[in-house]
Amino acid sequence: SDAPDETPAGSGSSGAATAAYKACMVTDTGGIDDKSFNASAWAGLQAAKTQASGVDPKYVASTAEADYEPNLRGFVTQKCNFILSVGGLMGDATKNVAAQNSSQQFGIVDSAIEGATNVYPMQFATQEAAFLAGYLAAGYSKSGKVATFGGRKIPPVTIFMDGFADGVAQYNKAKGKDVKILGWDKAAQNGSFAEDFASPAKGKALASTFVAQGADVIMPVAGGTGLGAAEVAKGSSGKVSIIWVDQDGCKAAAQDCDVFLTTVVKNITDAVEKAVVAGATGQPLTATPGYLGTLENNGVSLAPYNQFDSKVDQTLKDEVEKLKADIVAGTIKVESPSAPA
């Protein structure tokens, strides 16, 4: 084939424009493609690139917790304008590095760092959206049994399950029904976990156990493990549906869109995008109060019903809308021990 006329200048990321706003992200040990918060945050960085000129997104994946600090420091040395940590477990490392580099802007997803003025926290009242999903699931279920399971018993996971359980309870209270929830006992804070975020096989086994127990709506909060649940739903010829989490399932796992009733969206993508765009356009990122995603500001939400739009009763849809309004208005409060303070 023909050679281009000019010698291409440099290669890799070295050729970035000088005026670029370097937005750099350090993943936690889940890696960039965790089908969960790392992936969402990365999507946010990339979206920011299209929104503000000069944004140059980069990431580095941590393979162990011991990598957090050096990776953050590496980006400091690289003179990144905005350094994003993903996940509460990176809190300590972020705190250390931020304290030593007080003129550097940091951000952290799913955590807040007390006393650090240069770390912009992004947190989410995920339980609010999960509450809607619980109500929806209970209403949609034909068998009167719904289920949820987690990847591991950690707050960013159980917060979904708490909201979901409350939503089901709300439905039962409102309708005088007895829809059962399997896989999570909010009072005891105990339930089913795959102990793995990347094993669809385990997700499949768990989901099929739930289906065998009669559940027909399942919400896996387990990253890639949840794909196994989608697999079970696909094999059920329409009987079982899945409520996905984090990012709209019809985008994040498009191949399984036909089984996603909806998604409990934790809008990390938008939050990150906004933060980066703000930074790039010179607006301040204040550490307090930082950002709290709620139903109100669309920081958390229920995704469109997508292919289920026609299958969900209009009345049920309306009730969900009404609930949302009540939560936004504060007439209904959704609590979770895992919710951000």
Binding site: S11, G12, T29, T63, A64, A66, E69, P70, G74, Q78
Partner: protein, 419 residues
């Protein structure tokens, strides 16, 4: 009837050879040093190929290679040299930072940071590597370093925040807790092997999973979990129990010194102690050991206890030196990496120490490479695997480089033979 005696070795001729030619001659023979060096070189070459083929921009320049090869070559060279320069700068020193320090424009912390990182990564690996190496020497295949390290993390961590003791003593107690925890986790497969013959490969694999699950459960319990946090994270270890470290941005801590001391201890144990004599005998010839009155079963148990204790110490260093708290993945991969470190170090204590430092350097440099050029850390994994393969197959390296014959220590000569 008499046949000629085989010609005597010609002594005088050898003396005529100059020292230099002798040196060159030996250099290009398949001795351990040369093979190790060439193995690393070969691995880097293959790694370079991987870097190039996986970079779409550089690959694009190859599409018109015949028209203008210089493009492809320059682009490849730029990418590779930058990646490997990063590997060096991240692991040993960055000339720019060092000269900045001498000029007074930079600080010594930045200049020393690469070395500090290398040693930080190396410290726990020395322990887990020694654990595996020691077990190998006694004929056991300890895949359980990971689980033992996890338990070591747990016991050292809990001792670090749950009991209050004066500085120094607290550290000693926490380290001892890590040692004992790991030893306990090694004792189980050792006992099962000695008493029931249960294969240590199976039992240690299973105990790895068990340990990780146990840690996952423990950090969510009251009294362990940080009451101010909702995440799965424990309380912070008291400063009295932390391993002393260099000032802030540098992470290197006393663990590496401890590692060197323990290496010396293990070397002594293997070569100079009665137990070492026993374990080496059991390792290479259990029937002869038994015939000479040694108790093979008892040796296995002791061996796994010591190996487990070493891995547990590795976990303890990780918690008390770098991590400060317990989390699900606090132990990272140090147990499995220890397997490789031991193989690389040919199951010799000092070899293991150097292998761990090499490995730590690759990790530290790999981080910079990832941050700077965006080449993922998996490349480092590939490099590590390739280096071990080449070192383990000296015949291969010999054939590739047409080396002269020499006595090469074959990797794992004293290793568990099959099952």
């Amino acid at each position: 009837m008499t046949t000629e005696a085989p010609p005597k070795k010609e002594e005088p001729k050898k003396e005529e050879e100059s020292f230099l030619s002798l040196f060159v001659h030996n250099l290009w023979s398949a001795n351990t040093v040369t093979v190790t060096f060439l193995s690393i070189l070969l691995a880097l070459v293959i790694g370079a190929v991987l870097i190039v083929v996986s970079d779409s921009e550089v690959l694009a320049t190859f599409s018109y290679f015949t028209a203008r090869p210089s493009d492809a070559l320059t682009a490849s060279w730029d990418l590779i040299s930058r990646a490997y320069a990063d590997l060096f700068k991240g692991a040993i020193f960055d000339p720019a930072a060092v000269s900045a320090w001498f000029n007074g424009t930079g600080d010594w912390q930045t200049a020393l940071n690469p070395l500090s990182e290398t040693l930080t990564y190396a410290a726990p690996l020395v322990f887990t590597g020694l654990s595996v190496a020691l077990a190998f020497r006694g004929g056991l295949f300890n895949i359980g370093g990971q689980g033992q390290a996890v338990i070591g993390c747990v016991t050292a961590g809990v001792a670090g925040f749950a009991i209050g003791l004066p500085a120094g003593l607290h550290l000693v107690v926490a380290l001892a807790a890590g040692l004992i925890g790991g030893a306990l986790w090694g004792f189980v497969p050792g006992l099962l092997k000695a008493r029931t013959g249960a294969h240590e490969v199976i039992t240690t694999i299973m105990l790895n999973y068990t340990a990780t699950l146990f840690l996952g459960w423990l950090i969510l319990q009251n009294g362990v979990q940080d009451p101010d946090r909702t995440d799965a994270i424990s309380k912070t270890i008291d400063s009295t129990a932390g391993l002393p470290a260099l000032p802030a941005p540098l992470r290197v801590h006393f663990g590496i010194v401890l590692a060197v001391l323990v290496t010396a201890g293990v070397a002594w144990l293997v070569n100079r102690s009665s137990f070492g004599f026993e374990l080496r005998a059991v390792g290479v010839n259990p029937p002869a050991a038994k015939t000479a009155g040694m108790s093979v079963g008892r040796t296995y148990i002791m061996l796994m206890v010591v190996a487990g204790g070493l891995a547990g110490l590795g976990g303890a260093t990780q918690v008390l030196g770098t991590a400060d708290r317990l989390t699900d993945q606090v132990a990272g991969n140090i147990g499995f990496d220890g397997l490789l470190v031991a193989l690389l170090g040919r199951n010799k204590p000092w070899g293991t120490l150097f292998a761990a430092i090499l490995y730590g350097g690759l990790r530290a440099g790999g981080n910079l490479m990832q941050v700077d050029v965006g080449i993922s850390l998996e490349l480092v994994t590939v490099l590590q695997a390739l280096i071990v393969i080449f070192i383990a197959a000296p015949a291969l390296v010999k054939a590739i480089f047409q080396l002269r014959d020499a006595r090469t220590a074959r990797l794992g000569a004293s290793m568990a033979k099959g099952w």
